[in-house]
Amino acid sequence: MSQEHSELFPDVLPAEPEKVTLEGQNKFFGLWFFLGGETVLFASLFGTYLALKNSTAGGPSSDELFGLGLVFLMTMLLLVSSLTSVYAMYHMRNGDYKKMVLWLAITGLLGIGFLGAEIYEFAHYIIEYDFNFRSSAFGSGFFALVGFHGGHVLFGICWLTTLLIRNAKRGLNLYNAPKFNTFSLYWHFIDVVWVFIFTVVYLMGKVG
């Protein structure tokens, strides 16, 4: 780190370290645009799923497949991980790097737990019910939507791991604070999408 970027490494961090630099503000703004695009993307996947959900081609229907117990567990894991990422951001604003890393690590572990449960769920459908991406239009719609969300969780975990490893030894500064903040925002978005999947795919799949 050269002398001329010393303004990025103050001795005492300001109250909102993620929004002090122009770079940080731009990252924040840019991520909101990205999330806007993602919203449209997921909306089309939801639309496709709803249009195809009754086209089971003689295979199992949503009512026969889904078990709400596992899905409830997954929902709890992801909702709690969103809460822990809020704790992490709280500690970031207090300049407490160690506690931020701790809560982010917990966030990541909860995400891995969610992903493990989802992989188990998918494997269960594929092996026990012979229900997969190509078995019916319902299958394509389901695995495209839920799988795409799972892919986002996986991406988020990789992102978080990279961030934590890279910054493991150097503490919080004005250069990396926006990076943690954008991750947290992304993670909330993934959580919100899951709330819709839980409602539209699983709950509505059980009742109608």
Partner: protein, 370 residues
Amino acid sequence: MYILILPLFGLFSDVFSTFSRKRLFGYTAMVFATMLIAFLGFMVWAHHMFTVGLGPVANSIFAVGTMAIAVPTGIKIFNWLFTMWGGQVTINSAMLWALGFIPSFTIGGMTGVMLGSAVADYQFHDTYFVVAHFHYVIVGGTVFGIFSALHYWWPKMFGRILNETLGKITFWFFFFGFHLTFFIQHFLGLMGMPRRYWVFLHDQGLDLGNVISSIGAFLMGVGVVVFLYNIVHTAVKGEKASADPWDGRTLEWSVSSPPPYYNFEQLPLVRGLDPLWIEKMEGDGTMPPGEPLDDVHMPNGSFIPFLMGLGFFVAGFGFIYQADYTWTYLLLYGGMAFSIGCMVVRSLKDDYGYHIPKEELQKALEGEAK
């Protein structure tokens, strides 16, 4: 379609106001019309599939939506005409393309409304009428716009003005060839010639029309060749461009041609629409600074975004062909892994950018003042 034409709509507003030496007529209405087209343009996609059996309700909704786009587009056409009304119109290459755009694109818009009518579309669907229509909007709109933009901004991009005579020759060959090629295709379509065939049956009354169409295509080809020659000619012995060769109205004409890599030493103080023109009329003709002179923070150059795009590009082929060829999984996973690897590298490598010192900017400012 709409996403292709909207950027060029912006360009036409610039060209018409600059070469009419008037501000854009109905600026607010223009902005609203743009937003409306952008909004409606996202929800009319089913007008390509009226004949697949969506049912009367869906067909009606998409037909009405499609025809509704003609309203904001009409607003824009009239505003451009009113911009020229009473202005001091300069006709050069850039303006010729813009003037050629208005009738060409309007014809395309009219056939668009015809196609938008779901009932009539059962006749037009998959005939050369459709081919004629979309070439009128995409060539008559977007391609004309791109040519206009190239002639208008070439001096700003490369510091040399494209040759005017060659530019006019390009336009007339292309404009004449374009209408010769595509106008007759409306009639070929109405006579029943289907699209997506590279040969057609002889002696069905379609031969003459197709010959005329081909002649027009050659004329367009001549126009493009003249344009390519113009690029080479300009690069070798073109006239050097001043900062403001067109007596422009907007900010880009207040910096040198081509602009310095940091664009502005200080952010300019903008006092309204057409900011440079305001300074020409009410100020000293240069943009006053809107902030004190200070170091400018710049991002470092990077190849990584390009490499990411390359990885996704390769992966795209994998996604398409994995159903037929197993080996294309290599492209799919290889491309994705490469792009994600680029993201990881970008995340791991610190990039603080750099500063242009105040002194260097000061020197540049003094150079401009001389």
